[in-house]
């Protein structure tokens, strides 16, 4: 028995040693160390779409400038007269939500509820029913089916949990004859009346990566912090960053998956700091950006150039410490648009078939303005939530 224990331990040790040796390579790999391949994965990279999104950032959107949630980039208007409702104040809106499992979705959903209240007061919509699938595809499929089966819905709004799996469910909703509005993540179908989304993940990732390229000396090191693999909106951000870093002279140390967990982020960044310099941090979402910055504080290192998100904890830190930073924005105000679109459809007004909302990062110039506008808001709130003119402001967002 003793012998076998020694044998086991020895084998384990040997395996560890061997794996240590065989994975030496990434350190010296060309085009960035740490196994960070700077050519985007073909599965997640579409050059045409990438170019289109980068171009859309420069296009002036149509619509009122002070109401970005009603703006649209190069809209193709579609006729909705077939869906006119005789008494919209009695129309029932049914919303199948993927989840409220992160602060971004929580903020957006509050805004949506307040928008519903505003429209109900105006008599433009009636009842608002919500089902929350808690990030479960199967749950959402049955939620949508339940809406269809109930026959009570005069319009169905869907924020899909995942793209491919939810496609048939969205098509079922379309076939039921009521207008369907999809927003945030898309599906592989164009049966809905309108698909609402900000410009997209490529533009987000590129905004962040371009800022680092512009603000760091050639040869500087960059660490990428990613939440999860395999989620299209996040993968597109990284693919765009790879594309831009690949064409730059920055040295990308690698990327780490963090699940947005502050403790994990802080630990991972600390470990990278032990091994060498980190001059820049690229993040695919701002959750835990402050934890990353604290790792620099605790290690006694100067702050990096960082791309976070328009989450307030990060923006406040940015202001307090005078960071060189940018806040790419995945427009949170998009949660208003689906309800507004539904009310327009029920009134027979034209809506864009693909409703591309503006998506502008917050730079140093606008930092103070957005901090002032959100001064009462909690730290896990998103600056561009766009609900300042809605009923219940600000209590609905501050007392969440």
């Amino acid at each position: 028995m003793r012998v076998s224990r020694m044998l086991l331990a020895g084998t384990a040790g040997l395996t560890l040693m061997l794996s240590a040796c065989t994975t030496d390579a990434p350190d010296d790999a060309a085009g960035g160390g740490g196994g960070a391949e700077m050519t985007p994965d073909a599965e997640w990279f579409d050059q045409e779409e990438f170019d289109a999104q980068l171009a859309q950032r420069e296009i002036e959107p149509e619509g009122p400038a002070d109401e970005p949630w009603l703006q649209a980039i190069e809209p193709e208007w579609t006729d909705t007269s077939e869906f006119v409702h005789d008494s919209p104040e009695d129309a029932t809106l049914c919303f199948s939500n993927a989840s409220v499992s992160n602060p971004w979705r929580v903020t957006g959903f509050i805004t949506m509820e307040q928008q519903v209240e505003a429209l109900q007061e105006e008599g433009r919509i009636g009842e608002f029913r919500v089902s929350d699938a808690a990030d479960d595809d199967n749950q959402q499929i049955s939620d949508i089916q339940a809406f269809v089966d109930s026959g009570d819905c005069d319009a169905i709004l869907i924020s899909p949990s995942t793209t491919a799996t939810l496609t048939p469910a969205v098509e079922t909703a379309c076939e039921s004859g009521v207008p369907v509005v999809v927003f945030d993540r898309g599906v592989n179908s164009d049966c809905m009346v309108t698909f609402i989304h900000p410009i997209g993940g490529y533009a987000y990732g590129a905004d962040a990566a371009e800022f680092l390229v512009d603000n760091l000396e050639p040869g500087s090191t960059v660490l990428a912090l990613r939440i999860l693999p395999g989620v299209d909106v996040l993968e597109h951000r990284w693919a765009a960053a790879q594309q831009i870093f690949g064409g730059s002279e920055l040295d990308v140390l690698g990327y780490e998956f963090t699940e947005g967990d502050g403790a994990k982020i802080k630990d991972l960044v600390s470990q990278h700091l032990q091994r060498g310099e980190v001059d820049g941090i690229w993040m695919d979402a701002g959750d835990g950006a402050v934890a990353a910055l604290e790792a620099f504080e605790d290690a006694g290192r100067p702050y990096p150039v960082i791309s976070g998100e328009d989450e307030l904890s990060f923006m406040r830190k940015w202001d307090e410490e005078g960071l060189t930073a940018v806040a790419p924005v995945y427009s949170n105000f998009q949660w208003r648009t689906p309800v507004l679109a539904a009310s327009m459809i029920l009134a027979g007004e034209e809506v864009p078939a693909e409703w591309i909302l503006p998506q502008e990062p917050i730079g140093q110039g606008e930092l103070q303005e957005f901090l002032d506008r959100n001064s009462d808001m909690p730290s896990l709130h998103y600056a561009k939530f766009g609900g300042e003119d809605l009923p219940g402001f600000p209590e609905a967002w501050t007392d969440r």
């Binding site: 040693m17 240590a20 994975t23 196994g35 602060p103 998956f257 470990q271 032990q274 730290s379």
Partner: protein
């Protein structure tokens, strides 16, 4: 096999005597991992990086010690991860940046931990719900309640004072740089648990896990002892929450999956699931080993997404290994319960 050959060299004998508790095995593994880390990153053993590692590992050590108390008494506590998350969210919401609230809120957290532990313990012992179900239920209850209370994402913020135990330390220590409070707290709690296990209560706990019927017959108040184990685990989770919240602040994901990491740590330390065997030190070393392994993966640039798989392998391998060692038990000793029907007597611990 239990006879030790007389001519065995002294160090080997020492090793094998340590080995009976599983401590040597996990220590050996820990040293091996450290050696590999050192070959990858020699600067790891300079003071500050080592302290950064220890600071990160401290909450897991505390969770593992708490989990040890429950496992050694023959039960499980799956609710600790959710409890950590709930406690951090409660702290952020109640403190809301007010320095003066720090101490009162910490007291509230301890009271809440006490309550959760008590509920876990009483449901398991009085209602006879298997602990894996009780604490699984508690995990979901806490997870859902916090989501409901906060509307899905935490609000508020922690005070600077609250963050000191998890983030600060004694500055200017030679060689080490900063000696983190978290490490001292983890050390103190581990030592405290070692002494607890040597006390009559600790021995009762161990006896309960080994064979609750026999323990009951010999005068152990099994229900009380087990309930105390759950309370201990929940209080440890509360302390871990204070350290984790202090370490990195509030995020929505804090605490997720920590129950399984803690169980992995305990199992890796050779503490036998089902109770009755294992040492506190081995559980704490198990926690260090798990943390070290994750650090090593990071050094090797393995994606962190593979960590759950590794945890799974560790649990299975460690239990399989422990089961093999279980062959060494003297024959004729019942594993947990005798074959004949003893259930009725559980309610009457004193004859």
């Amino acid at each position: 096999m239990t006879e030790t050959p007389a001519r065995r060299s002294a160090p080997l004998a020492l090793l094998s005597s340590l080995g009976r508790g599983g401590t040597a095995t996990v220590l050996l593994l820990l040293v091996l991992i450290f050696v590999v880390i050192a070959t990858r990153n020699p600067s790891f053993f300079e003071g500050p990086p080592l302290m950064a590692f220890a600071k990160k590992a401290a909450p897991l050590i505390i969770l593992a010690v708490g989990q040890y108390l429950v496992i050694v008494s023959g039960e499980f506590d799956l609710s600790v991860g959710s409890l950590v998350g709930a406690q951090v969210v409660i702290a952020a919401r109640l403190i809301d940046g007010e320095e003066g609230m720090t101490l009162p809120v910490i007291l509230v957290m301890l009271a809440f931990g006490l309550l959760v532990g008590l509920v876990n313990g009483l449901i398991t012992t009085l209602l006879k719900v298997p602990s894996i179900i009780t604490t699984l239920g508690m995990m979901l209850v806490l997870f859902g309640a916090v989501r409901f209370w906060t509307g899905g994402a935490p609000t508020g913020s922690l005070s600077e004072a609250f963050r000191v135990p998890g983030r600060g330390g004694i500055e200017g220590v030679p060689f080490l740089g900063q000696l983190p409070w978290a490490v001292l707290i983890a050390l103190a709690l581990t030592v405290g648990a070692v002494f607890l296990m040597r006390s009559p209560l600790g021995r009762s706990l161990m006896a309960t896990g080994d064979n609750d019927v026999a323990a009951a017959f010999s005068g152990v108040r099994v229900q009380r002892v087990r309930t105390l184990a759950f309370v201990g685990s929940a209080l440890m989770a509360t302390v871990a929450a204070i350290l984790i919240g202090g370490f990195a602040g509030v995020t929505a994901q804090v605490g997720q999956g920590m129950e399984f990491t803690a169980i992995t740590a305990v199992v890796l330390g050779g503490v036998v699931l089902g109770g009755g065997r294992g040492t506190v030190v081995a559980a704490a070393l198990g926690a260090l080993t798990v943390e070290a392994l994750f650090t090593l993966f990071n050094q090797l640039y393995l994606p962190s997404t593979i960590q759950p798989s590794v945890q799974g392998f560790i649990i299975i391998a460690a239990v399989a290994y422990a089961a093999r060692r279980g062959d060494l038990r003297p024959p004729g000793r019942p594993r947990r319960r005798p074959d004949h029907e003893p259930e009725r007597q559980l309610g009457t611990p004193r004859r």
